[in-house]
């Protein structure tokens, strides 16, 4: 059947001759054949907007064209998602920065604080500064390992602009926090409290890792649908992984007693909260208890007892 591809402003782009039983993925390959710039990962197709909708229904790669009721002469709206980059590529680079930048201030203060007259010999650090550096590096090493061994990504790619945005955020904050925590004029807080906080923070990291394992096991290979997370803290909190992550950074901040650390923790928490609310509402809407679907249980969203 022939399908007409239009831009979102209605301008006709191309006509595709496809088999109604072919998948959306095959459609994208065909379109790529016609328009060389738009490789499949950049393509987004949607059905024209129906009455009562704000957006047309987006076509999923694994579904068939007939699943969407597309017939001869049907229209498809095309959007160019822009140059794409792999999720794991972005994750690697955004985590690699902090892993390398933070220790720079710890090990090379003579270069990172050139305006401060350093006392001769090896840099002097309080115990908390040493443990904080180890904790920070352990955290980002863990993230990189998870990226390549644990995480299963819902999308394969993201717009390339995100690489710079995300790296700017992670690398920027890494330098900002590290500069002050490893500063020659750093004032170390109570050592016992700090060590205790970092010890609990490590437990939070383990909880976060465990949560990631649970999330990774939710979908069997090939499954695409949403599942209700279960096990561990997920029985009580929708985004238990974020709960542990927020605790980890909160405890790190208390341990080092530095405003930039608190700012970093707060910014991360704010972003995770936005994501958690969206996920929680998505799951509640999906699992409404009707038509044989389970009902999403009453749970905290991200951070008991507050949200």
């Amino acid at each position: 059947m022939k399908l007409e591809v239009v831009s979102r402003s209605g301008r006709s782009i191309a006509t595709l001759d496809v088999n109604p039983d072919s998948t959306v993925a095959e459609l994208k390959k065909k379109f790529h054949g016609l328009k060389k710039t738009y490789y499949p990962a950049r393509q987004r197709f949607a059905l024209p907007v129906k009455a009562g909708e704000t957006r047309g229904q987006v076509l999923s790669d694994d579904k068939r064209l007939s699943d969407y009721g597309l017939t001869e002469g049907g229209k498809l709206e095309f959007k160019d998602l822009g140059p794409q980059i792999g999720y794991s590529t972005v994750f690697f680079w955004e985590y690699f920065g902090p892993l390398v930048l933070y220790p720079l201030f710890f090990f090379l203060p003579q270069y990172m604080y050139p305006h401060i007259k350093a006392p001769a010999g090896a840099p002097q650090h309080a115990l908390v500064q040493k443990l904080a550096c180890a904790y920070w590096c352990f955290h980002y090493a863990k993230r990189i390992v998870e990226t390549f061994t644990v995480h299963k990504f819902g999308h394969a790619t993201m717009p390339i602009f995100n690489l710079f945005k995300n790296c700017g955020y992670y690398w920027g904050y890494a330098a900002y926090v590290s500069y002050f925590v490893n500063h020659p004029l750093y004032t170390a807080p109570n050592e016992t409290v700090s060590v205790a906080c970092l010890a609990v923070a490590v437990l939070a990291q383990l909880g976060n890792f465990w949560s990631h394992i649970i999330l990774s096991g939710l979908r069997k290979p090939g499954e695409k649908e949403y599942k209700i997370p279960k096990g561990g803290l997920f029985n009580f909190v929708t985004c238990a992984n974020y709960t542990f992550e927020i605790w980890g950074w909160l405890l790190y901040s208390v341990a080092v007693q530095s405003i930039p650390a608190y700012l970093f923790a707060a910014t991360g928490a704010a972003q995770m909260t936005q994501w958690a609310i969206a996920k929680h509402n998505r799951l509640r809407k999906l699992f409404d208890g009707k038509d044989g679907r389970p009902k999403y249980p009453r749970r905290w969203i991200i951070f008991p007892p507050f949200l």
Partner: protein, 253 residues
């Protein structure tokens, strides 16, 4: 009438009156050839009150009472607040600067149009000429106000440095240092960029609102931000939370 509608109409009307008073005071003073210092002394107290109270604009947006973006609204309020409370107020020399008068005048001239427009739109009785004013007068007034703010910040730099205002030096128990003088230098560099973002979004809103064709039946921009909510980058999660709050609030009546 819903309670929220009455409240918003009252709030916007009160702001409109406040800014009108400021504009009148300045106009009379200029007509009487007062010095900048006299003009500032007359207009500043009321300006501080209404501009401070304008934080409510952000609150309204955050709870979903109005469709504006709370982030944009807050950015706007912080920018103005910085220029008025943090820079101009504490530095006596700036009180005798014409830039301060220009800044207050530009703000007041814009607000005596914007707030009445919000009030009228909230009540569903906004005349076309007011809409035209609201979406046109910003074109000259916004750049004038911004330049005045930048001029005041620029002039303040030496005194910010010598007095070390709002700055923190190491060592201290917060393990943080902040140099406000350096911060304002960076803000000055970023100001044209931030200004352009806001200005261009207003121009786009103007094209949509005034530029021919059907207006989609009064999307009540009875809101409190000068920014448009139509740039598509608002996170859906915040929308959901705000819509739910809005529904709960409206159910109260």
């Amino acid at each position: 009438m819903k309670f929220s509608t009455a409240y918003l109409a009252l709030y916007n009307a009160a702001q409109a009156c406040g800014w009108a008073a400021i504009l009148v005071v300045l106009a009379i003073g200029v007509a009487q050839r007062e010095t900048p210092e006299q003009l500032y002394d007359r207009a500043a107290p009321l300006t501080k009150l209404v501009q401070g109270a304008a934080l409510l604009d952000t609150l309204h947006a955050a709870v979903g009472l109005v469709p504006s973006s709370p982030a944009l609204s807050l950015m706007f309020w912080v920018g103005r607040g910085n220029a008025l409370f943090a820079i101009t107020e504490p530095i006596a020399a700036l009180h005798s600067s014409w830039w301060a008068v220009v800044m207050l005048g530009a703000w007041a001239a814009a607000e005596v149009i914007r707030y009445p427009w919000y009030a009228a739109t909230t009540l569903g009785a906004c005349p076309g000429w007011l809409t035209w004013l609201r979406y046109t007068m910003f074109i000259p007034l916004f750049p004038v106000g911004t330049i005045a703010e930048m001029a005041l910040m620029w002039t303040s730099l030496p005194e910010l440095q010598s007095r070390r205002l709002y700055s923190l030096a190491l060592p201290n128990p917060y393990n943080w240092a902040f140099d406000y003088h350096r911060f304002i230098q960076i803000v000055l560099l970023l100001y044209p960029l931030l200004w352009w973002q806001l200005y261009s979004s207003l121009l786009r809103a103007r094209a949509k609102k005034l530029g021919g064709g059907s207006s989609k039946g009064g999307s009540s921009k009875g809101g409190s931000s000068s920014g448009t909510s139509g740039d598509g980058s608002r996170p859906p999660a915040a929308d959901i939370l705000r819509q739910e709050t809005r529904t709960k609030l409206l159910k109260v009546q």
